[in-house]
């Protein structure tokens, strides 16, 4: 195949000047680590509260615009299953992705994101209570808010919930994403993180579910499940065994994810996790 090799080398022979600045990457990563530590430890929330306390005018200000910080009302916090904790909306550190205009298998939902966030969160809580083993703790990523909750990401047109699972000193993430199924979704393993390690299971009356497990060279394991419901909703649930330390370095925190693929499927199948209730 010398000819193909030659043509490939010819095609890539002349390289334009690169836009990549390694020092900038390093500096940006350092800022990200600092921001992440700030956000996840709740120090950020404390700082915001302090800032509000000394700047009364902020209380009566207009609604925060996109990319600005949303200030939590004092009365917010944990509560009933569908009451959402207010959260800090971080600003994007770089250009935001383009707004998605992809076609979906059916008309997009008419429910408002605010309503859907609460409804989906309630459904997730019920599913977590029913599926997750009692010795596994599920804690949301919003500071001072115990339970996981969904947040709508307008740019991606999807609802995401991220939580930390823990059991006897072992930890890992649980992520649930709910979005309209794209029209070109093929319902096969081509969408899986590792298509070589993927299985497709039809679920009678409940669409198809894809299951994939990928392992990185350092021992990180990610279990990935995607349910494509007949009603046009895709529910993706992942669990892993890595947590980022305060400096941003991912660390293995368990020999394997704390939930099985079967449990992830059961979470995905929760009746309320749909965009077309």
């Amino acid at each position: 195949m010398d000819e193909i090799a030659r043509q490939l080398r010819t095609a890539a022979a002349v390289t334009p000047p690169t836009r990549i600045d390694v020092d900038l990457l390093i500096a940006a990563d350092r800022r990200r680590r600092q921001h992440r530590a700030w956000t996840l430890t709740g120090t950020g929330v404390a700082a915001v509260v302090a800032a509000v306390a000394v700047t009364p005018s902020l209380f009566g200000g207009a609604q925060a615009g996109r990319g600005e910080m949303v200030l939590p009302p004092v009365a917010s916090g944990g509560g009933s299953a569908v009451a959402l904790c207010q959260m800090v909306a971080p600003s994007a550190s770089g250009p935001e992705p383009p707004f998605q205009t992809y076609d979906t298998v059916r008309s997009r939902p008419v429910e408002s994101p605010q309503q859907a966030e609460g409804r989906l969160t309630g459904a997730l809580h019920a599913a977590v209570d029913a599926v997750v083993p009692t010795d596994v703790r599920v804690v949301g990523m919003v500071p001072e808010c115990d339970r996981p909750q969904f947040a709508y990401h307008a740019r991606y047109r999807e609802y995401t919930s991220i939580a930390v699972l823990s059991r006897a000193g072992l930890r890992g993430h649980l992520t649930v994403v709910v979005r309209p199924t794209p029209a070109d979704a093929r319902g096969d393993c081509s969408e899986a993180p590792d298509s070589a390690e993927c299985e497709l299971r039809p679920l009678p009356g409940d669409g198809v579910v894809l299951l994939s497990t990928s392992t990185d060279p350092g021992g990180g394991v990610q279990r990935w499940v995607q349910l494509q419901r007949p009603d046009g909703t895709s529910v993706t649930v992942t669990a892993d065994n890595m947590i980022s330390a305060e400096d941003g370095t991912p660390e293995l925190t368990a020999p394997e994810p704390l939930l099985t693929s079967q449990e992830l499927v059961e979470l995905a199948r929760a009746p309320g996790l749909t965009l077309y209730p």
């Binding site: 195949m1 000819e3 193909i4 090799a5 043509q7 490939l8 080398r9 010819t10 095609a11 890539a12 390289t15 334009p16 690169t18 836009r19 990549i20 390694v22 020092d23 990457l25 390093i26 500096a27 940006a28 990563d29 350092r30 992705p97 383009p98 998605q100 205009t101 992809y102 794209p182 070109d184 969408e191 993180p193 590792d194 298509s195 070589a196 390690e197 990928s214 060279p217 350092g218 400096d247 941003g248 370095t249 991912p250």
Partner: protein, 176 residues
């Protein structure tokens, strides 16, 4: 970069020695230099986050190549990336004397763009990065048999479209 609990100098040296090769690989995967730089940047950020662990590995190059591959495949999965890079393959009728390198470049890129992502990746890893079937399989996370079949199908697609590409039977024989 004081304060980072990392061997930043080691990272900088590693990246500096491989940046151009990574950009070329990314370019052949995605077909344009702008996106290639984006992909390499994303891979380098991931590499930095794992550098402490990766730098102790026997083959960090394989790790970064695999990361680059995954970044690209992930990008391809995003719906807004699914538009075709080429509406149609430029005509490449007969081999002409004094082959124009620009035409060659456009043709091979257009043909690569026609291939499914993983098949395209197999071709780039095998024939540009000079990886063996087994190495390619490891980096793709699949079996050597899959690499061989994907490679054969890619060659079959290219057969007759590129000057000098031998027939499928020749390729199969060559790769065992």
């Amino acid at each position: 970069m004081a304060g980072l609990p990392l061997d930043v100098e080691g990272y900088r040296d590693f990246v500096g020695a491989r940046l151009e090769a990574l950009r070329r690989t990314a370019y052949l995967l995605c077909g344009d230099w702008h996106t290639a730089d984006d992909l390499v940047s994303a891979a380098l950020v991931k590499l930095l986050r794992h550098w402490r662990r990766v730098s102790a590995m026997e083959n960090p190059d394989a790790y970064v190549r695999r990361t680059l591959l995954r970044v690209w495949l992930d990008e391809r999965r995003r719906p807004w990336r699914r538009e075709a890079a080429w509406a149609e393959v430029p005509d490449r009728a007969a081999p002409a004397a004094g082959v124009d390198q620009v035409a060659d470049r456009l043709t091979i890129l257009a043909l690569l763009a026609e291939l499914p992502p993983r098949r395209r990746a197999v071709l780039v890893l095998r024939y540009f990065c000079d990886l063996s079937v087994e190495e390619t399989a490891r980096e793709m996370g699949c079996t050597p048999g899959t690499v061989k079949s994907q490679s054969a199908r890619a060659i079959e697609t290219l057969r007759g479209r590129l000057v000098g590409v031998p027939s499928l039977t020749q390729e199969v024989r060559t790769n065992g």
